[in-house]
Amino acid sequence: MSSRDAILDSLRQNVPPPASRPGPITGIRYADPLKQFEETLIGAGGRLVRATAPQDLASELANIDVYANAAKIASLVPGIPSRNVDLSSIEDPHDLEGIDVAVIPGKFGVAENAAVWVPGETLTPHRAIFVIAQHLILIVPAQEIVDNLHQAYERIHWSPNSFGIFISGPSKTADIEQSLVIGAHGARSCTVILV
């Protein structure tokens, strides 16, 4: 008998009594979701910038030090050019190493935990871009900040083999004596620009 069948058999022999699913949860709502998003993002080690209009995006980016000083910038945002990086010619994700800043569009944000949803189809040509770049800038529409994670999952549509990630602030660790260090393996900084 295959292991698969042995395991499923064992589970069916040991089956607990029936138990139904719970009802839906009403998640927290905030009087000012953007304020909650910002405070939580700062708590997670990130930074929030509120762009006043889409045209401002380029100048808002220029105001961000890591962006202004970057030698290599990969942009996945239409209208924002890359700098010294030609993503279309990079066949191997390993060759993304050395990129200083990745500018990536987020679909929406979640106020309760400052998470930004980045669907896999955004991360082309290589999904490693969001973790291998030294700094991350996420561009999120300001009207697309939901209150809680239940609302978030309602918005996500899954298709076969679709990657997706919630990013909340920069990479970090507290593994050494519970002392928080920003920038473990992934982004050393995470700036969210609300447009």
Partner: protein, 454 residues
Amino acid sequence: MTGHPENAASFVANEERTHWHDQSLWFVRAKRDRQASGIPEWEALREAASAIKTHTLSRLADYLEEFERNAIANGIQVHWARDGVEHNAIVHQILASHGVTRLVKSKSMLTEECHLNPYLEAHGIEVTDTDLGERIVQLRKEPPSHIVMPAIHLKRQEIGDLFHIELGTDKGASDPKYLTEAARGNLRSKFLGAQAGLTGVNFAVAETGGIVVCTNEGNADMGASLPRLHIACMGIEKLIPRAADLSVFLRLLARSGTGQPITAYTSHFNGPLRGGEMHVVILDNGRSRILGQQAFRRSLSCIRCGACMNTCPVYRRSGGYSYGYTVPGPIGSILAPQRDPKKYASLPFASSLCGSCTDVCPVKIDLHHQLLAFRKVLVDLKAVPLQKRLSMAVMGFVLSHPLLYRTGGSLMRAIVPRLPRGLAYGRWNPWGIQRELPPMPKQSFRDLVQKEPS
């Protein structure tokens, strides 16, 4: 093998260090409280998570088959392992068939349970643990002492000394930022040189046939997105039915375990990279047997958050190594004796049954009740020392016979106060090592009550 009491006594002997360890973990418990108090529907969330897990476990075979179907449709290759031996063989076979000699790994307690690292290393595969805490204990050739904060038992100076030897950091340097930067550089080259990435699984979703991995460091993403081969290892109990259910668990997981609203990265892997392969290895290793045990099946709801360890006054003062098992603390004290009752017989007794663990558990496992229930199992299996079983039987006998009880009580109260101190506090009296005996009154309550007006 020494049990918890002996190991704990050694740990506690260094009182200053024990207090430091206790404070470090209490700090995380306090962060959990702050986060939880900000969510008005917190207790409703715990109830929902508990109900979803109970529901899933009631139909686990069906949900596993659904998961497998959808995973395969995503292009994921699904493997099933009855036990740790089979699991390791499967993982090795996948790696060997691709000629892999350099593997990077993100945190997986399941692979610790199966002792995967030594197995792969014996077969010529270099395994690099990439979670910083895991990397630290790997370099020290030690197991993790906490399932979420593997190096919580180490001081920065010790890590600094380790990195000086292993990574070439400055002698005597112990600043966490400096040390983390050194690890970042060292591990970045490991990521870039790896031929495969292995991750754990926080949640497997039946509806989508995909898995979710939560990290703060981004090491799972780095490991799974650079090499083309991704292997994810999961226990059968990691399953949840629908993607929407993730919202319930993700709102609870990081708040409970580390006191954050969510981890920095919550990655939904639903298939391989273009031109790559993704494998999921599903492990039983005794879990299906636990499912059949009414008293203990709820332990399968565990989402490995670590909250029970952070709140346990005993764990905080004895450290993960005192338990001698992959998963320590309250949940470990139920899982370990499931695996080997005689070897881990001391663990269910390494608890004052205070119940704090039960009240923090995000999936409402009745941890302290299961610890108590396991004590009975151990007595029935005669895994508890004879002397202890005998003394309980004797005590039960005395207490069932009022005359014996009253006589015994009178004798105790008459004799103990008259004993010379050396005798009263001899080696036979473990109570008296650090405590005075209670003052023995001349008259018991039942003597005094006769004099009360009725």
